[in-house]
Assembly symmetry: C2
């Protein structure tokens, strides 16, 4: 009779994640053109090489004046001044405001020498050769001073900042044409299984449509990665060939399937165990117990072997792969913040395993409803869920009204 597989105690979720993160180094930074930094993470502080604004300019369309000239202006006795010039935004010529004169000026235009205030056109008669002012103006009014947004040498953005729309705008406004960033990680998903058929093609009993690679590639993109999907059949040589093929163009590899207890059918386990650089273990969680992690190839590329059940693969991605992708980007690995909600239905969980159950959070009510269909192949409930309900390892049942920890799904 054959020997049953060796039983070792399962590893905790935290230990497994800690081992993963200890093996991940942030991607080497690359100097990227500004537009290409979107979605990347700064690898160094960026400081302002010039103040912002870089010159005193007008905050309004109006007239640049010397404030003391308007001191006595009233409705009854307006002050009328000759308009000696007009400065458009972008005009780089030299203009000057002399006493008892003024210059028409547009928003953003360079403040002329001699001027100490701008009067908005709405507060005047809008004249072109001469203009009447009916009220005084405070010195400094409607002027944006050089450096009032950012001083020269100020840190605009610190290393570790993710570049979104506003960060991009700040870099652009400061004239930054390129920046040293950690790029989006490239992730290859390899889905294994002789049972897998491409969606849209016919199947017969025994076969299923492949879904994991679509799901995980999309989840990786949502986490900021560049991802591509591959589907292969069950064959250890094929698994190794697919990995070899992806290694040059991936910073992280994910396989799904082929890692359970089926011996020679577990092609991923069989293929990678031989390399000796990937550890397979049980993790004390449900779904997602069979986990594998290690490195492959000349660059020691991290590889995750996720279970083939789609809900297991999804939960494993969120709990283990997503933090790894963030680490590759130089971001803190965890972004999910958990919150507490009151259970609107009872839940069960196996002793000694942390359960991640699919639920619907009603944030206004502070309640969470566990969904029907919690088995690891049941995508229907996952598609309805907006949170995972976490049931700790030592807890086997929780009742209606109990407070539960939940994490929002992205």
């Amino acid at each position: 009779m054959a020997t049953p597989p060796a039983e070792t105690g399962p590893t905790s979720v935290e230990s497994h994640l800690a081992e993963i993160l200890a093996a991940i180094r942030p991607l080497p930074p690359v100097m990227s053109g500004l537009a290409e930094t979107e979605g990347c993470v700064l690898a160094e502080d960026v400081t302002a090489s010039t103040p912002l604004p870089s010159f005193d300019n007008s905050a309004m369309d109006g007239y640049a004046v010397q404030a003391r000239d308007l001191e006595g202006a009233t409705d009854a006795a307006p002050v009328t001044l000759p308009v000696t010039g007009e400065i458009a935004a972008g005009d780089t010529a030299s203009y000057k405001v002399t006493p008892e004169c003024c210059v028409r000026i547009m928003t953003g235009a360079l403040l002329p020498a001699g001027a100490d205030a701008v009067v908005p056109v709405e507060l005047t008669d809008g004249g072109t050769s001469r203009v009447a002012f009916r009220q005084p103006v405070a010195p400094g009014a409607a002027i944006r001073r050089r450096g009032d947004d950012v001083a020269k040498g100020d840190v605009l953005l610190t290393a570790g900042t993710g570049i979104g729309s506003v960060e991009l705008a700040l870099l652009a406004a400061a004239g930054v044409g390129s920046a040293l960033v950690r790029p989006r990680p490239r992730m290859a998903v390899i889905s294994t299984g002789n049972e897998l058929a491409e969606p849209g093609t016919p199947i017969i009993p025994g076969r299923i449509w492949e879904s994991n690679s679509f799901m995980l590639a999309a989840a990786a993109r949502q986490a900021g990665a560049v991802a591509h999907r591959h589907r292969i059949s069950d064959d250890p040589a094929g698994v190794l060939a697919a990995i070899d093929e992806q290694l040059p163009r991936a910073d992280l590899l994910v396989t799904t399937g082929g890692v359970s207890m089926g011996g020679e059918h577990d092609v991923v386990k069989a293929a990678l165990a031989a390399l000796g650089t990937v550890t397979f273990r049980k993790v004390a969680m449900q779904p997602g117990m069979p986990q594998g992690f290690g490195t492959v190839g000349p660059r020691q590329t991290p590889i995750f072997t996720l279970p083939g059940n789609p809900v297991s693969a999804y939960v494993s991605f969120q709990i283990f792969v997503r933090p790894a992708l963030r680490s590759l980007q130089g971001l803190p690995p965890q972004r999910f913040s958990s919150l507490r909600a009151v259970l609107a239905g009872a839940v069960r969980s196996p002793q000694g395993r942390r359960s991640f159950l699919r639920g619907i959070l009603d944030a206004d009510e502070g309640t969470v409803t566990p969904l029907t269909g919690q088995a690891s192949h049941q995508l229907g409930a996952l598609a309805q869920a907006n949170v995972l309900i976490i049931v700790p390892e030592q807890v086997v049942t929780m009742d209606v009204g109990d407070p539960a920890e939940v994490v929002r799904l992205p």
Copy 2:
């Protein structure tokens, strides 16, 4: 003397947004291959053409048995059965379990005729020709029944659902090879101004680096659009030419700059006012008062003329353009939910205008700190902000300790 510009009362934020949304029709749906539906919105309900799972299958690696054969099994008196076959996942051949026999079966493999339970390999001695069972098994154990996830004809996803990773997985698992979706809207950003220089190039006083088009294109992508940026100088003919050029490849146009009170310098206003299909108005908000919206071209493409100050442009995008992009996708226009937080600093707001001030929300403490640098050109504060603090039209000051409405920035 010239006539001052006509003054009309400002329009409320709600009225302006309502006019915009009334003019927006969802994009025509297109049939897209599954992978291409990511980020799109379903234009019709998708129902399951087959139950999921589509056949009874094993939830574990183990042995398919007739449960009654193991009724008396104990540690002391195990039941040993011959193994008459082995079924791998993906195997589509016909197998049968006869009384007092069993068949080795892998996770996901088609349940053989005659079997009514699966015993996981961990609970056996793992034998290949004969296997010993030391406990009984309940009928139905470790079997996933046809349809236990999704029944044939069930609505998998409803019209209006955005396709993310899990939705993609559910469609894939149900064999859906293509779906009718509303595509990502294509948005062109045209930034105008003679003062604008490309980041990374040298400037002289009077000129600034262009930032709006980078910011708005990235914000649009974050909102699910496909966006491209363009920078042109101040010239009404150039504005119309740029719009004409973008019309065939944009579902929505955004210009920035050229819409204030500067007469002939307001090239966007000058160019579009002549068409008669774009309305320019003041909206009772700060920043972002000068707004323009209308339609252009043969397809009545919506166009927004946003102010040129970057903070004004950003706030205008979030308040007006983002809901329009969502409407084009067939999504409900508003997604931002506001929350209440206690002010950690005093704020001021002009009478009659709704202010959107930049602040930092401390969600744990429930407090919000207004940032220094609230002028509409000050990107530094915007880059630090995680919320906008909303000060209602009729309020001019709010004090430390006052509750304020805040909306999170994406």
